[in-house]
């Protein structure tokens, strides 16, 4: 049995299905159904209806898609994300490591603290999305065996290690990179500004 469809938009090209849905929504008393025959129309009618505050239920039907629109079910500011998109919603943490030691004071203490911090990070359950190494921080991924080992462990766990190319050049370490990859100021700027949580060490 074929259910009664309120608005048949089969055979119509974008943006026509959206325009008809828009018009229908203005006079609709309650929920109503829209039938479309292609993915683009399905996505566009869904996008529009959600923006207009409708809840949208999509099902396969008659070689196309049946969309049930329930007006007023969602406040526009609580609009759900499109169901098709699978974006990882976790917080993006970025470590910004601009020195080979932690804090200012005794150098031996500072480097020991850095080693301990990187070891702890490599063992922690909460790893960052990426770590950025600048200035003398590049020593930690080049000439320091211990920290290189910790960083390899982090990289194995999916952490992206971005190492400042200019800094490697400056310290004469361009050929010594042992973990992570050479990066540039655009990418680094973008990683820092794009972090939800930036941890500067």
């Amino acid at each position: 049995m074929m259910e009664e469809v309120d608005l048949d938009c089969r055979g119509l090209k974008c943006p026509e299905p959206v325009m008809r849905t828009k018009k229908a929504l203005q006079t609709a008393g309650g929920s109503f159904t829209v039938l479309v025959d292609n993915q683009a129309a399905r996505d566009n009618v869904s996008r529009f209806a959600r923006t207009a505050g409708c809840e949208v239920k999509v099902s396969d039907a008659q070689g196309g898609f049946l969309l049930e629109l329930i007006p007023g079910a969602v406040k526009p500011e609580e609009m759900p994300r499109s169901g098709e998109m699978r974006c990882d919603a976790e917080t993006v943490t970025v470590f910004f490591i601009s020195s080979d030691e932690i804090g200012t004071g005794d150098r031996e203490l500072g480097t020991t603290l850095m080693k301990a911090f990187l070891y702890a990070s490599s063992e922690s359950e909460d790893v960052p999305a990426r770590a950025v190494f600048m200035n003398s921080g590049v020593r930690l991924v080049t000439e320091n065996d211990e920290t290189v080992a910790h960083m390899k462990r982090l990289e194995e766990r999916g952490v992206e290690l971005l190492v400042c190319g200019t800094c490697l050049e400056y310290y004469g370490l361009a050929d010594e990179l042992r973990v992570g990859r050479v990066s540039n100021m655009y990418e680094i700027q973008s990683a820092l500004v794009g972090a939800d949580r930036l941890v500067s060490i």
Partner: protein
């Protein structure tokens, strides 16, 4: 036609393999390149489409800028152009005159001439041009030379497909997409000239496959992976709003379906921006893979000069398996 279908169609035909044919659609290039003599090759390209804006003169300019763009993307210089005009019976001659005048003025601005053309009766109005130019094969830029670490520079904002759909639907007036119209009718010549002064490893113009689609083709031809920093991608005004209104053109989903190895990594970003990355563009900007040591200065020169909204939108990476990643990148 979407990139996937086009590839299938071409696979049914015998491949052209003349030794002088330096590049063609089979190598994913924007234009065909044919070697004439040492240091001199012919560049040929053709494009036509129905009106994207209502104003006929602007449509003519846009169609010509779009057709000429393939020559600039390869580092060439256009010489001649042939008009192709499909018109519905009974259409006012004045409209056709304005379209052709727009095209002619743009071709002249490019330093080329209209050498002729062809008209045919058609249900829907269409205009475009076949452009012929020259390039030094030694200095030619292809899509296959991108290297690990190259910074991806984009010279114009994106969103023309979405805005044209919204215009068609009457959700925006032509005046509300003035920045997009201005951009579509701007030649890519000066941008190409700026880029030619740097270590430019690969270049293409952003058109029907969308920014992400063309980058995917570039990465594939270069044997590399690539990453887009979505928040760094410049958009025309009102583009995101029109995505929310359901004004995404049909070609967008074909473009998206064609990118098989798409990774949306660690990014909780707005899917509306991702929708824009696959939006088919008309007369889009150049997408250039520039050596990271040059990219800062190249971007500065583009912004200070012909392309105020140019941006570094991503990076070429040597990753395996090969993929196109989209992450949020910077602010916005």
């Amino acid at each position: 036609m979407g990139p996937g279908d086009l590839e299938k169609l071409l696979a049914r035909l015998p491949e052209e393999t003349a030794p002088r044919l330096l590049s063609s659609i089979r190598t994913g290039e924007d234009a065909g390149v044919y070697l004439l003599s040492e240091g001199l090759a012919l560049v040929q390209t053709v494009d036509l489409f129905p009106p994207i804006v209502d104003e006929p003169y602007a449509f003519g300019q846009i169609a010509a800028a779009n057709a000429l763009s393939d020559v600039y993307a390869m580092g060439g210089k256009p010489l001649t152009a042939l008009n192709i005009l499909g018109y519905p019976c009974g259409l006012d001659l004045e409209v056709l005159e304005k379209i052709l005048r727009g095209g002619q003025d743009k071709v002249h601005e490019a330093g080329a001439v209209i050498a002729g053309g062809h008209t045919l009766e058609d249900e829907e109005l269409k205009y475009g041009l076949a452009v012929t130019g020259v390039v030094d094969p030694g200095k030619m830029t292809t899509i296959g030379g991108a290297r690990d670490g190259d910074v991806l520079l984009l010279t114009k904002p994106i969103g023309t497909g979405i805005l044209a759909t919204a215009l068609k639907a009457g959700l925006i007036a032509e005046g509300e997409m003035a920045d997009a119209i201005e951009s579509m009718r701007a030649l890519n010549r000066e941008a190409a000239e700026v880029l030619a002064g740097f270590r430019l490893h690969a270049c293409t113009d952003v058109t029907g496959f969308g920014l992400a689609g063309h980058l995917y083709e570039m990465a594939r031809a270069s044997g590399a992976s690539a990453e887009i920093w979505a928040s760094q991608v410049p958009l025309f005004e009102r583009t995101l709003e029109m995505v929310s209104m359901g004004m995404v053109p049909e070609g967008q989903s074909r473009n998206r379906a064609n990118v098989k190895d798409l990774e949306l990594s660690r990014w909780e970003g707005d899917e509306k921006v991702i929708d824009c990355l696959f939006d088919p563009q008309t007369s889009g900007g150049l997408l250039a893979a520039v050596d990271p040591a040059d990219s800062d200065i190249a971007l500065g020169e583009l912004r200070a000069g012909p392309c105020p909204r140019a941006s570094a939108v991503g990076v070429v990476l040597q990753q395996s398996p090969r993929r196109l990643s989209v992450r949020r990148g910077g602010s916005a």
